[in-house]
């Protein structure tokens, strides 16, 4: 049975892309931030591992797993983007 995600963990991930300070903390001082939020050892280990499976293990919602992975995995963020298409789409829109 999947564990139940703690409110502290759930709220942290919900805020990752809504609050720049949270994103900054997770990216630059994760251990200190996890300590501040009093996340338990299992949660901290899963967040360090940073895989979909580890995040599933601690009960994080699937979409929030994606949020966390986008926040801590630059390669994933470079893959899940529309920026390659924007110049062309903007040109097409300007031409009407």
């Amino acid at each position: 049975m999947t564990a139940q995600c703690s409110p502290e963990l759930e709220n942290m991930v919900l805020q990752l892309f809504r609050n720049p300070d949270v994103l900054h903390e997770v990216r630059t001082n994760p251990e200190g931030y996890f300590e501040k939020l009093e996340l338990n050892d299992e949660e901290r280990q899963a967040l360090r591992e940073a895989t979909f499976s580890s995040l599933d293990r601690i009960g994080l919602h699937p979409i929030l797993r994606m949020h966390y992975m986008l926040a801590v995995n630059p390669g994933l963020a470079e893959h899940v983007t529309v920026k390659d298409y924007l110049p062309q789409l903007i040109r097409e829109a300007d031409r009407g």
């Binding site: 809504r18 979909f52 919602h61 979409i63 899940v80 529309v82 390659d84 924007l86 789409l89 097409e92």
Partner: protein, 270 residues
């Protein structure tokens, strides 16, 4: 009576094309075609059906469906989607639709403000590229426990269609766009797609058999097409609203590199 001048469906993500340019370009061509069918008819209102990806709502939103009633929508900006300009809304349409849907017994709440994520904005890149068509976002709340079933979504679609045809000003021209899908699993290490499922679903919609999918369950859809595959119910809302008898145009490109079966359709109305 007002008219649904075009109804369509399309994916609501794009990803980097590196190494898969040929298939990525086919996806782009499909999304351009579907989007242009909406943009070119210059509707007065674009009702777009999607789901929030937890950039706005939390895990306890208040209803099965939520209707945006803001006068403007500034995008959230995920996936590097430009945040400006904002898109105009139509609060009066949204409030009237919500009232009508509640009267019909639909579990729906007003959404006073929202910053639309890729679920709205990627389709908008194609259907409303200049961001000038007023939009009314309708969100399906898959976070709700239990989430609305395909039958609930079909019923909302019917209510939307009745609302437009029976309650709106005679000269109002409405476009309906259902977004998302097709098969994809979000948040799992082994993320594949189910091409068989996707093609079967598309074939049924193209043949005018969308309604049979309203009899499916979320459990069966998720088992076959992933938690992301539940978004086919966004398509069912559009099909039901339009009384769709088939599809005029459709595309499908399996994109395992994007973890998604990418499909879209312009619906033929009855």
């Amino acid at each position: 009576m007002a008219e649904i001048v075009v109804a369509a469906t399309m994916p609501h993500i794009l990803m980097a094309p590196g190494g898969i340019e040929e298939r990525a370009n086919r996806v782009l061509a499909g999304m351009r075609e579907v989007g242009s069918r909406i943009a070119d008819v210059r509707p007065d209102v674009l009702l777009i059906v999607s789901n929030d990806h937890l950039f706005n709502l939390d895990l306890t939103p208040p209803a099965s469906f939520l209707v945006g009633v803001a006068e403007h929508y500034a995008p959230f900006g995920d996936m590097d989607i430009p945040r400006a300009p904002a898109i105009p809304g139509n609060a009066e349409f949204g409030r009237a639709l919500t009232a009508s849907a509640r009267t019909a017994g639909v579990d729906v709440a007003l959404l006073e403000s929202v910053t639309p994520d890729h679920g709205i904005m990627v389709p908008m890149l194609f259907a409303n590229p200049e961001r000038t068509i007023p939009m009314v976002p309708v969100y399906v709340n898959y976070m709700r426990n239990p989430a609305p079933e395909p039958g609930d979504c079909w019923r909302l679609g019917e209510v939307i269609g009745e609302f437009v045809r029976q309650s709106r000003p005679a000269d109002e021209r409405v476009a309906v766009l259902g977004t998302g899908g097709l098969s994809h699993w979000v948040g799992y290490d082994e993320q594949g797609i189910n091409e068989t499922f996707d093609r079967e679903f598309l074939a049924d919609l193209a043949a005018g058999n969308a309604r049979r999918w309203s009899l499916e369950t979320n459990e069966s859809i998720e088992r076959l097409a992933g938690n992301g595959g539940l978004e086919i119910s966004n398509w069912l809302i559009a099909a039901a609203a339009a009384n769709a008898k088939g599809g005029d145009y459709n595309f499908y490109v399996p994109m395992p590199e994007w973890m998604t079966g990418m499909g879209g359709m312009v619906l033929a109305e009855s």
